[in-house]
Symmetry: C2
Subunit: 342 residues, 2 copies
DNA sequence: CTGTTAGCGCGTTCAC
DNA sequence: GTGAACGCGCTAACAG
C-alpha cells in the first residue's frame, strides 16, 4: 500500500540514475551498460513500477490499440476471428478494442471519433460502412476484413467467396442434383453478391437452370432461414438442394423443414457457409463451406502491423475456402449416407 | 490535406479565444456564453479538429477504456454479453477493450499490466484468474461477471445457477423422470460446482436418486458432450434424462446419441444451460436454462460505471434464470411432443 | 464568463 | 554511456 503509484522519477532515484536512463533501460536495453540496466530493473521490481501508457502514448503519438469494427458482436462468426487478431496483437504490444458498429447507442458517428489519437489502426468488418467515411484524413490505417470495396484502394483480407459457391454447386451437382436453389444474404452486401454471383456462374457452367424464384431472400439470421423454408415449401417446383449464404440461415431452414415433417437430406440437401463450430454437432451435421477464421484474424493482424510500420506490401489477400462434407447433403431423394465419421 | 491535424490551439486562434475556453466549450458547454460557444463550434468544424484522447487521458488520469477479460473469445456465449456492455459503455464515453485470457501469447502476466493507466475498469469473466491477482493495488476497479469468489469482497454479477439446476430437475421430474443425470462443466469452476450442487440438492429434495456414475465429467466443449454420450451409452443403468451444464455439451451429446441411432427425447431427455441463440434452431430444439445475457452485459457495464464513480452500492447482483421448454425433453420413453410453436 | 499558468508522466533531443 | 531540459496536447486551478 504505497498510496500512489511510483513514477519513473521514483525508479530513477532508487536506482541512482536519471529518468532518461530508466526510460532507455526499459525500451532500448542495448543502449545502457549492463550494471545500470540491472540497477534499474531491480529498482523497477522494488518499487512495483509500471509504465503509464497514457503518457507514453502521448509522447509517442500512438495509442497502443487497434479497433475492430464488427457489425454485430453477438454473431459467433466473428468471435474466432477476433481471437485470432488478439493472439497476434498481444505479443506485439497492442491491444484489441472491439466496437459494435450496429449496437444501440453506437451510431454511425462512431467512426468519426476514431482518429489517430484513438486507435493506431482500424479493421473494418462491416460492409455497411460507407467508403467515403473510410477515407477521412484523420483516420489511422484502415484494413477491410471479410469485405472489400472495389476501386477504393483499401487493403483487404477475405476468402474466395465465388469459389465457395462454386464448391457448393460442384458438390451438389456431383451428387446428382440439377435443381439447386440459393438462400441469399442481405441486399447490398458484397458477400451476398459474390456468393450469389458465384452460384449463378457455377450453375451456368454446368448447364444447370438458374431460376430466379429459387434465389430466395434472406438476411443471415436464423429467422430468415425459417422464413425461407416456408417459401420453399410453398413453391410449385421445389429445388432439391439449397446453398445457403451462411450457416445460421441453413440451420434455421433445416429446423423449419424438419418441423414441417420433411427430412434433410432426403427431401432437400443443404449446404451452409462459414462452417461455424456448432454446425458439425447438429442433426444432420451440416455440410458447409469452411472459412479459415483463426487464420483470417491472425493474417489481418499481421497485415495491420505491416500497415502501421509502413510496409504496405500485400494489398489484397484472398484466402481459400474448402467444402466440409457432412450429413446434410445426399443424392436427390436419398436418405442419410451410411453412418460415417463425426 | 492539411498535413498535420489541428490542435486545440489552432481552434482557439481561429475562434479568437483561449485554449481553455475551447476546452470548456467542448466538455462543459454550459459554462461558456452562447456566442463564444458558437464561435468555437464553428472553428472546430472549419478546422476539422478532433480531441487528442491520449492528451486528455493523461491530463485526466483516466484511459477511457474498460477491459473485459474473457476466457475464450471464440465462445459465442460471451459475444452477446460483450455487446450488452458495449451498448452502455459507448454512450458513457468509454470504449470496450477485449482481452482473451487464454489466448496463445496472452499469458497470465496480462493482468499485471492492467494498471490504472491501461484501463479504467476491469470486468473479469474468467473464473481461473487467481483472486490474489485481482487484489493488486495498481488495478482499476474490478468486477466479476458470471463468476464469483467467496469471501474475496469483490463485487460481482451473475445468475442464480443453483436455481437453474433446480428448474431443470423440476421440469424433468414433472415429466416423470426419476433417473436424472448431470453432465458437469470443467473442474475447479464455480459455475460447474454451483450447477452440480444445485442439481444434487434438487434431486434430494424430490427424493430422487443421486448416483455418482450419473454425474459425468465434461469441460463445456462440444467434444466433451460427444464423449459423455459414449459414456452414457456404456452405462449398465442409464438415466432417462440429462441436465447439461451448458448448451454446447448438450448439442454434442445429442449429436452423438443420434449418430448412434438413438433418439432424443424418446431415448433420453436433455436440458442445456445458457440458451444460446442457435439451440432454438437445431433438431430437436433444445430445452435450456436461459441466462439474460444482454441484461448481464448492460448491468455489468452500469455497475462498472458506478464503481468508477465511487458509488459502490450494489455489491452482488444475482439475475434470475428461466427454463425455456422446447423439444428435447419429454416423458420417459415418449417421442416428440405434438408439433408446437417454433 | 474568460484568460493565464502549470503541470499530467513520459521519451527524446542535445550536451557532456 | 549518461543527465538536463523540453514538450507531446490537453484541462484543472486560479485570477480577473
Amino acid at each position: 500500500m504505497t498510496g500512489s503509484h511510483p513514477r519513473i522519477r521514483d525508479v530513477a532515484e532508487l536506482a541512482g540514475v536519471s529518468t532518461a536512463t530508466v526510460s532507455r533501460a526499459l525500451s532500448k536495453p542495448e543502449l545502457v551498460s549492463k550494471e545500470t540496466l540491472e540497477a534499474v530493473l531491480l529498482a523497477v521490481r522494488d518499487s512495483g513500477y509500471v509504465v503509464n501508457h497514457a503518457a507514453r502514448n502521448l509522447r509517442q503519438q500512438r495509442t497502443g490499440g487497434i479497433v475492430a469494427l464488427v457489425p454485430n458482436l453477438a454473431n459467433p462468426f466473428f468471435s474466432r476471428i477476433l481471437a485470432g487478431i488478439a493472439s497476434v496483437l498481444g505479443p506485439a504490444g497492442l491491444s484489441l478494442l472491439v466496437a459494435d458498429s450496429q449496437a444501440p447507442g453506437g451510431d454511425a458517428r462512431l467512426i468519426r471519433s476514431l482518429n489517430r489519437s484513438r486507435a493506431d489502426g482500424l479493421i473494418v468488418f462491416d460492409g455497411a460502412v460507407p467508403p467515403e467515411e473510410l477515407r477521412a484524413a484523420a483516420l489511422p490505417p484502415v484494413l477491410l476484413a471479410c469485405e472489400w470495396i472495389d476501386g477504393a484502394g483499401l487493403p483487404s483480407i477475405r476468402v474466395d467467396n465465388r469459389a465457395g459457391a462454386a464448391l457448393a454447386v460442384a458438390h451438389l451437382g456431383g451428387l446428382g442434383h440439377t435443381a439447386i436453389g440459393h438462400l441469399c444474404g442481405p441486399g447490398g452486401n458484397v458477400l451476398t453478391e459474390a456468393r450469389a454471383e458465384g452460384m449463378r456462374a457455377a450453375l451456368a457452367e454446368r448447364g444447370l437452370p438458374v431460376r430466379e424464384e429459387w434465389f430466395m431472400p434472406g438476411d443471415f439470421s436464423l429467422g430468415s432461414g425459417r422464413a425461407a423454408a416456408e417459401r420453399w415449401l410453398a413453391l410449385a417446383e421445389r429445388p432439391t438442394a439449397l446453398f445457403c449464404s451462411n450457416d445460421e440461415m441453413a440451420c434455421g431452414f433445416i429446423a423449419e423443414v424438419q418441423r414441417r415433417g420433411l427430412r434433410v437430406p432426403r427431401d432437400v440437401s443443404v449446404v451452409g457457409f462459414d462452417d461455424i463450430e456448432l454446425v458439425a454437432h447438429v442433426t444432420p451435421a451440416l455440410t458447409s463451406i469452411a472459412q479459415p477464421r483463426t487464420e483470417i484474424g491472425e493474417k489481418a493482424a499481421r497485415m495491420m502491423l505491416a500497415l502501421i510500420a509502413g510496409e504496405a506490401d500485400e494489398a489484397d489477400v484472398v484466402l481459400p475456402v474448402e467444402l466440409v462434407r457432412r450429413d446434410s447433403t445426399a443424392a436427390p431423394g436419398r436418405g442419410a449416407r451410411p453412418l460415417a465419421s463425426a
